[in-house]
């Protein structure tokens, strides 16, 4: 089984580091970006299987980044799971409307659970 390539776009360095280490421990290959712009670049170049996207970031916001990812041909097909700590209904709805594959709240998940969710998202992808 080839390992899953996950791209993590997260501006908080602690979260970024923890997530990276945690997912690597679960057998993922992890690419990281600290803002939207470099995240888009990595998505285009690094051919990730799944993108984990934070919502609140300086510069290009999560929503903006999502819009670009879904409009770019090279990245359109990659499932994007929102990893956020905001649970505002309106934001969740907006993200789902823009084509996000799912929405996870970081504070309610352990790294193990996060890994499992990522796998299940991809399984769903391959089923559909």
């Amino acid at each position: 089984m080839s390992s899953i390539r996950a791209l993590l776009i997260e501006d908080d360095r602690f979260l970024r580091k923890a997530c990276e280490v945690g997912l690597k421990k679960q057998g993922f290959v992890v690419l990281t970006a600290e803002d939207g712009e470099s995240g888009i670049q990595q998505a285009m170049d690094g051919s990730p299987d799944i993108i984990l996207l934070d919502m609140l970031m300086p510069g290009l916001s999560g929503i903006e980044t999502l819009k670009v990812l879904k409009s770019e041909e090279r990245t359109r097909a990659i499932p994007v799971v929102i990893l956020s700590n905001s649970s505002v209904e309106a934001d969740i709805q907006k993200a789902m409307d823009l084509g996000a594959a799912g929405y996870l709240v970081k504070a309610s998940l352990s790294l193990q659970e996060l890994g499992r969710h990522v796998r299940s998202f991809l399984d769903k992808q391959s089923d559909s």
Partner: protein, 626 residues
Amino acid sequence: MANLFGNIGDIGQLKDSLLLRLNRIYCTLAVGAALAISFELFLETGSADSLEIQRSRCFILFLVIFLLAGAFVCGLYIARQAKIFARKSEELLFEAKQRTTEIAALYDTSQDISGRHRLSSLLETIVGRAKTLLDASGCALFLFDKANKDFEIAVEIGVGIPVGSHIPLDEGLAGQVAKNMAPLIVNDYRRSPFRSKALQQYPISAAVCVPMIRDGELIGVLGVNECGNTKRKFADAEARLLSLFAHNAASAVFNARLMDALQNSKERFRIAAECASDIVYDWDLPTDSVKYFGAVTERAREKHSFLPETRKEYWDIVHPEDRDRVRRALEEHLKDGTPFSVEYRILDENGSHIIISDRATAIRNSRGVPVKLIGAVSNITERKQAEQMKSDFVSFVTHQLRTPLSGVKWMLELAADSTNSPEDLESFIRDARLSTDRLIGLVNDLLDLSRLERGKLQINPEDIEMDALTRGVIEEMHPLLSEKEQSLSCQVAAHFPVVSADAQLLRQVILNFTSNAMKYTPRGGEMKIRMHYDDAFVYWEIEDTGIGIPKSDQTMLFEKFYRAGNAIAVETEGTGLGLYLIRLIVERLGGSIGCESREGVGSTFKFSLPLHGNGGSNEQHPGSVN
């Protein structure tokens, strides 16, 4: 009225009586027979009559005398009857005259009463007229108080009974009258068992009390009294007259009360409308016309604000997205009385939207059909904005607190893995601790923010050397600077003065500006801190070569604006609550804050502080940019 004449009968009746007729016939016959016989006797006397003829003539003579005697007796009887009837007819005439006078007085009085609409003048008129009607020494009106279930002495004349005092329902003449709902005459008041305790000190000798009833309901009791030692006794006829009068008076009192209540209600409405901060409206549904009331209406009219005059004009200014909802709510209210209280947007005269709160009630006719809609409208735009800001703030803070918490949680999860190398373990634990620190810092910032907003933040001023403080911060940022390969230089004017300020707060400001600059400057970029001063202020600024800030966002930079779109206001590193908090701190320290920026080139964030710290003023002064 006929009853007042009793059972006396009719003179006419007597005239036609059989007795009289018979008597007349009898007398005529008797006199005629007597004359005939006498004539015959005189003609026949002088001849040598036989004894028989003389005997028969004596007999006839006796008959004549008997007939004449009979006629005389009948005449006497008739005369006597005539005298009786003459007397009776005189009495009747007298009574008729009395009644006419009384009716005239009653009519007069009723006219007087019906002309008085205000309760107080009406009550006075009633007792005055009642007293005159019965020609008595005094009169008192006891109004029935439904709430307290007693009588209030509303008005009186002639005795001196205290007006305004209350008498319990079971006491006195008034109580008896109320119980029986019938008039009561007491001609020896002092010895009467119904005498009221409250009134026993007054020299009332006789009284007649009648109930004032309207539509079966007791309005009050009217009591006419005689004072002093007169031997006056009130008669049934007078009680009857007073009752008639009281009946009219009751109606008049009832109507006057209604008028009073209406007047009060109108007055109250007027005052309420004047005081309300709303526009009060009155839609007449059948004619589709509207009237507006209230102080706000006047102001709106002065400003020539648009006030819709018809239903159609009204719907035109309601926001299209809200029209259906408002329409439905209105229909429901008109149909079954569901309370109408809606918030929706309307266009104001500038073409922008304001949010209003509209509460209304329909007035229905006797068939339950709504004919009027009375309501009040108030502008709640500010309130809604405040609510939205509060809600935004809560979401923002929730997010901000969760971020370091997730950091701690994940770091500890990693640390718990037994396969960690000692270095890894150490690094995870260190990061967890740093996250915890950040969390604590955030909570402290929240507290500061709350205190600053309420004007309650504690300032501990001390003498600070700002260049030393700045260099300390740069030192702290060193690891991060080298990681991002950024350079940060600091230029300080010579003889930089010492500033009196709160060290902790000032450090917070410098740290925030610095870490911001670092965040928005690309890898390998350059940042410059400059500090200079003049007579009154010190100036601190940091210039970066980052992405810059669009003009449109610059105005919102230091505002309390936490919408997800404004990423600049979001702090993930550093001290957490963004530029709004920094601005509040700087202003609290007596300074001002500003920013210059060009997109694609970079930004300069700056603040200034007064040389002689004043512990907090919000004056604007040179050096600030808005």
